[in-house]
Symmetry: C2
């Protein structure tokens, strides 16, 4: 009288769910069958830029668990197989080998879809997204094949700046094209400007306010990127334009899609109105705890948490996903970048009246070796005084301080109360006033002003 769980997508969310469900129900009680369109399971997509850049030795290092390892735990993973449709009424999925499979429980973990504009030349050799391990391999192959000297990265988000670093490590001349005023548009422009300056100091040719028109090709290979601001020669072109929820399969089946384009779930990762249907990872939208509105935030750590929640519930336990506050960190060479909560444009869009303050401090006591500069910007709501968001740009040890802000936002702390927080202090770790506390004091003052 066993059930069958079908998992669509065998990466972070899907396989976390499968593992948790398996932990609670053995294979006689729950058969688990997973379909994965790529050649790999359970890998760290976030690690790809570091592998391309040579900081991570081998592709295998990024794979947490292979299909064989999953099979050893009675999770039957079929790699290289794409689910082409879901029949909600009959509870079946159809696969690209024309097979059809019944399910009792369905876990949709179809991930994100990299934005890929319809530019002329976009499909040329040497033009790459950076989402899958195959993409990573292809970038490396292009660099070797073309004996590349010049690279253009299109888009200045996380993947864009991380890939800029990876390409610098290959001694390429790197140009970063960004449509907006500054790279890292998840930061406010004043903080993004610090990132732009650092990129330039590292030798990246940062061009902002640039609209790409297409890719020039020769013999099927990319040769240059054409824009409204001139043409940029390129042996390799990397697309870092972000992703959208890959929810088409669910939408085609009539399953609920929200305003962000992500699949709608409840807090236990169930599809409302569809018993036994679950979804998790980059394909879903989740509660943003600051705005109270849904948000689609593609990030491995969310995918893992949501997958775990779904799996515990499928396994008969109880777990719920509490939402996000928008925390993200990144690193380019020595520069650390972090944000949480709302940036100014998000706070405005959500209708908050807010004050801001930006301070400069050091990552450790100013007199301690390797003290690095760090800039912290905070937003606080005018009426309640609570922290709405924070951004950090600085040297080693700066970015993970974002966690203090994330936990403070989570608990709806006021910036005034934050000034008293008992954070760890010793000269190798912090000035006597942690930069986060200095910033909390500054924005408290700004609220009173």
């Amino acid at each position: 009288m066993g059930e069958r769980l079908i998992v669509i997508g065998a990466d972070a969310a899907g396989m976390s769910a499968a593992s948790q469900a398996r932990k609670r129900r053995d294979h006689r009680d729950l058969e688990i069958l997973a379909f994965e369109k790529s050649a790999h399971t359970s890998y760290s997509a976030c690690g790809i830029p570091y592998w391309i850049g040579g900081l991570v030795d081998q592709q295998d290092d990024l794979i947490a668990r292979t299909a064989e390892q999953h099979r050893d735990r009675h999770i039957d993973v079929r790699i290289g197989r794409t689910v082409t449709s879901i029949d909600v009424r009959n509870r079946t999925v159809t696969v690209d080998d024309d097979s059809t499979h019944e399910f009792d429980q369905l876990m949709i973990a179809t991930g994100g879809k990299p934005k890929r504009p319809d530019w002329p030349g976009i499909d040329a050799n040497g033009v790459h997204g950076v989402q899958t391990l195959d993409d990573g391999e292809a970038v490396s192959a292009s660099i070797r094949h073309t004996k590349a000297k010049r690279a253009v990265v299109i888009g200045g988000g996380y993947i864009g700046v991380e890939m800029a670093e990876a390409l610098i490590r290959h001694d390429l001349q790197v140009t970063l094209l960004e449509r907006g005023d500054q790279p890292m548009h998840t930061l406010d422009p004043d903080m993004g400007a610090l990132v732009a300056q650092a990129l330039r100091d590292y030798g990246v040719d940062v061009r902002t306010g640039v609209t790409v028109k297409g890719i020039e090709t020769r013999d099927g290979w990319a040769r240059a990127v054409t824009t409204d601001d001139g043409t940029f020669d390129a042996d390799v072109v990397v697309l870092g334009l972000g992703t959208t929820p890959n929810s088409q399969l669910a939408a085609d089946a009539g399953l609920p899609i929200g305003p962000t384009g992500g699949i709608v779930t409840d807090r236990r990762m169930r599809l409302p109105g569809h018993e036994g249907f679950w979804a998790a990872g980059d394909c879903v939208e989740v509660l943003h705890r600051v705005t109270g509105r849904p948000a689609a935030i593609p990030l491995g750590t969310h995918a893992n948490k949501q997958g775990r929640v779904a799996g515990i519930n499928i396994g008969g336990g109880y777990a719920s996903f509490p939402g996000v506050v928008g925390t993200a960190v990144s690193k380019i060479c020595d520069l650390e970048i972090a944000r949480t909560g709302l940036q100014e444009k998000e706070a405005e869009a959500a209708g908050f009246a807010y004050a801001t303050a930006t301070i400069e401090s050091h990552t450790v006591a100013g007199y301690y070796p390797d003290a690095a500069k760090v800039t912290v910007k905070l937003l606080a709501e005018k009426s309640t005084g609570r922290l709405l968001g924070g951004q950090i740009v600085g040297g080693a040890g700066g970015a993970k301080r974002i966690d203090v802000l994330a936990v403070a936002i989570w608990n709806q702390m006021t910036v005034e109360e934050m000034t008293g927080l008992d954070l760890g202090y010793a000269p190798p770790f912090s000035p006597v006033w942690d930069p986060v506390l200095v910033a909390a004091r500054a924005v408290s003052d700004a609220l009173r002003a």
Copy 2:
């Protein structure tokens, strides 16, 4: 019709108060007169081990503001002057030059008093506490004078382990004598054992369960430390036995002293029942937010915060000190050590029933360069599930994660809720599950077991 503020002790707490009061009231409205028994004002005592160890170049680097700089802001600091008594009724202080000074407001910031047992030989040359800049200079002079080869550090607390590192940097053979089962008694013994092992790996001869009996001397200089477990040769002896609140002056004046031996204040750092009397820093006791009981925790960051609160209030503003959760961090060579909240023996003493879990993880993604091991131990209350305490021992980037735990404890979060926290994730900063989250999951499971 101006008032006079007298400040006793011109270090972190006293001068933070003076600065904040001055910011709000000019010198015609408020005269500020400060007495400092040492030769220096506003210095970082916490930096002394790093200066002795050569990580900080110059003594001056540790001085945030000199007496002259304070005088430029109309804060009259008299260095090398000790206040010998307070006349509460007549509102005067007497100084060791037999002068007497009236006050309207009195700020008591007499700091901590290093424990200095009545051992034979304790006053010999070459035996040093590490509290003031003068102490730091004396240790360095002793090392030079004796061409020291062997050092004994007595006491395995923060100062003890930090001094062990400083002395290793001078290529001394270092023995650390600790009375308890493990060094770092602010950690549980299982976590302290990790510190002991690391110290041994760095070449420190760690002896635990050892009771010191005295110092052997020759020609007035220390030659060895005698214990119940043998005699340890020493050219230099460093005392790291902790401090107690230096509250004798206040006690002699009949001012309120609490159960910890610290001066009693309210949240605004006022002495209850004594209008215009204030105290802050290592000489006071404060609310421990987890036990709800008073605690005396000597730490520069608390002294600065409390001094600031007192100064704002003296200046006519409103500020309050919210108490502490017992956060502390330290570092010995590459090993980072941190704790917050209650350790097991404190939780027992406070009457909590609790569960614990200890996990091992990495500071960054396991595949990323320089991923270091980190061990996290959490305590959670059985009935409520809330986090009571946390301890971290590990490599670079480990210790400051204590801040996440500190903010969680501050907000009385349950460990179950913590498993969903939106902490910063990217491979150079964290595994996909931050070690703190892994630990929260483990202790959640332990609560249910």
